[in-house]
């Protein structure tokens, strides 16, 4: 087996046995990036020098025995997580050249765990998009079919994991931005409960929805990454002061006593591809064959989730993105005259069109005379969506559904039609509105060989049950072991 194809837990065994060094492993991953990323475009920056230094430190740690499961493991990081001393762009021209003077809490946790960062990964600008086509720098291609999108906004993260250009990655999920690209690229992705992972140092898009999470080659790796990045952080006032369990400890428990729920509204949702629907049904059968009970549940406000989300998220974004003014960091229009024209020219040249569209939409929804009709109304509908989940989780432990209505679409296919693009988020964004954890795992392939993902959603802080069901499913299938033909 090629070193770059290793999972985190397999690599850890080899590192521990000293049959492999962290420097060798890191070199293998850097070589892999050099060999295939030209075709894919997952990385915005490869940080080889820092990576090799971190790998040397990891080898020293293995010599003394003070290691974690992530020591010496090469990871990729979505480029909206601040990395001290290394550029962080959010895939936006407005942050070109920005070098954060501090690191995100998740980066400090990874550093303490001895992980190696090999580079910063491409994304839709400011995480706004479902295809990574909105990157201000480059598109990313799906490793399974280079004419298709990898999903988004964490498209670089998902593509890099799928193409073995890192052993695992961090992404962020505001409306499906980890789960949907994970689904399209055939990898495992998890959006933790809102507040589980510190958002300190995560560049803000929609603060009440954003959450950092892992993308991984299998469920065990996902659990190991979760173990490292979760936990209360006084620097994030929305961080949840709750103990974090060892997410690997319950993976092997069986599925007896677990009840899965199938939302009836998701089956009648328009635009659901027949192959996706069939793959999800087969996955439900596999899981019930393993001993889980199955009930139908109802999420009656599902049809309003996209509308509520596309008021709330742009509103929060319009406020968060007010800070990009050409004064403190990033791009400033060179021949701007007075202050206000300087702001306007800087922001218009620095932000791409999707970001500007959402700023306009959000500013409009929050502006005088419209607040009640849009933002307040959407926030009330959000309450009803949360209650739907609360009621469903009285009957079941895990809700199963598709992640995306179709497999990955062609690059350019939806680029001119923002509303159609938004509607493809139908199955994922409710979890962000409700703050609950969600996950995507590979559950099949389309007749064209494109990966299909299964979504698992659970109650607040109950990531462990999702990981357990996912692990059991993974043991019974081999979708996660398939590799794209690169």
């Amino acid at each position: 087996m090629n070193l770059h194809e290793l999972t985190i837990h397999d690599a850890h065994q080899l590192l521990k046995n000293k049959t492999l060094s962290a420097v060798e492993l890191t070199r293998a991953v850097l070589d892999r990036i050099a060999a295939v990323d030209e075709k894919i475009g997952a990385y915005l920056a490869v940080t080889a020098e820092t990576a090799l230094k971190q790998a040397q430190a990891a080898d020293a740690a293995f010599a003394t025995g003070k290691v974690s499961p992530l020591t010496g493991i090469p990871l990729g990081i979505k480029d909206l997580i601040c990395t001290r001393g290394l550029p962080t762009t959010c895939a936006s021209r407005i942050l070109e050249g920005f070098v954060p003077p501090y690191s995100a809490t998740v980066m400090e946790k990874l550093e303490q765990a001895g992980a190696v960062m090999v580079g910063k990964l491409n994304m839709d600008e400011f995480a706004m998009g479902s295809s990574t086509e909105n990157s201000g720098f480059q598109p990313t291609r799906n490793p399974w079919d280079l004419s298709r999108i990898p999903g988004g906004s964490s498209g670089g993260s998902a593509a890099a994991v799928a193409a073995d250009m890192c052993l695992g990655a961090l992404g962020s999920d505001t409306g499906g931005s980890i789960r949907q690209p994970a689904s399209h690229c055939g990898v495992v992705g998890m959006k933790p409960t809102y507040g589980r992972v510190s958002r300190f140092g995560l560049v803000a898009f929609a603060s009440s929805l954003d959450q950092i999470g892992p993308l991984a080659k299998d469920v065990t790796d996902c659990a190991l990454l979760m173990n490292t990045i979760c936990g209360y952080d006084p620097k994030d006032s929305t961080s949840v002061p709750q103990a974090v369990p060892d997410f690997t400890s319950s993976l092997e428990d069986g599925l007896e006593g677990v009840t899965i729920g199938i939302p009836k509204e998701y089956q009648t949702s328009g635009g659901l591809d027949a192959e996706v629907s069939a793959a999800v049904s087969r996955a439900v059968d596999t899981i019930t064959d393993q001993g889980a009970a199955c009930v139908e549940v109802s999420l009656p406000h599902t049809e309003f989730a996209v509308a509520a989300y596309y008021v709330i998220a742009p509103s929060e974004a319009s406020s968060n993105l007010a800070r990009y003014d050409g004064v403190k960091y990033g791009f400033r229009d060179a021949d701007a005259g007075a202050l206000i024209p300087m702001y306007r020219r800087t922001r218009s040249k620095g932000f791409g069109s999707e970001v500007q569209r959402r700023i306009i939409l959000g500013t409009y929804a929050l502006s005088a005379g419209y607040y009640d009709a849009y933002y307040k109304k959407a926030s009330q509908v959000r309450t009803l969506i949360m209650e739907d989940f609360k009621n469903s989780f009285r009957q079941c432990d895990v809700i199963l559904s598709p992640v995306a209505p179709t497999p990955a679409f062609k690059i350019g296919e939806k680029a001119d039609d923002p509303l159609t693009m938004y509607l493809s988020d139908i199955f994922t964004l409710s979890a962000n509105l409700a703050g609950i954890p969600g996950m995507s795992i590979p559950c099949g392939f389309s007749s064209q060989g494109l990966p299909i993902g299964l979504q698992l959603m659970g109650n607040h802080l109950n990531e462990a049950v999702l990981l357990k069901v996912a692990y059991n499913f993974e043991k019974a299938t081999d979708f996660h072991r398939q590799k794209p033909p690169l």
Partner: protein, 95 residues
């Protein structure tokens, strides 16, 4: 149309964005379509429903008011497009 050209111009001004005529037309059409879709929310009866701004129960996060370290001035200023004598430089504000 749910949003007029004039409204797009007004909102762009509020949001400190510059827009040419073509962009205004495109945005008015696209955002109009999105707002028409958003109008489906009017079908939901929300009388007496509290709005949610945070999806997970949370109290105010208080901390002791103690002096802490801060970022290094040089590191922070190194990102500024224009700086002088340890300050950010901006275009003239008062005439």
């Amino acid at each position: 149309m749910k949003i007029s050209r004039e409204e797009v111009i007004h909102v762009a001004e509020l949001a400190r964005l510059d827009m040419d005529a073509a962009a205004i037309d495109t945005f008015a059409a696209q955002i109009g379509k999105i707002l028409e879709y958003v109008a489906t929310l009017e079908r939901v009866d929300t009388r007496g429903v509290e709005p949610t701004t945070h999806a997970i129960f949370m109290n105010n996060a208080f901390r002791e008011d103690v002096r802490q370290g801060h970022l290094e001035k040089e590191a922070v200023l190194s990102n500024a497009p224009a700086k002088e004598n340890g300050n950010f430089v901006v275009p003239k504000v008062i005439g």
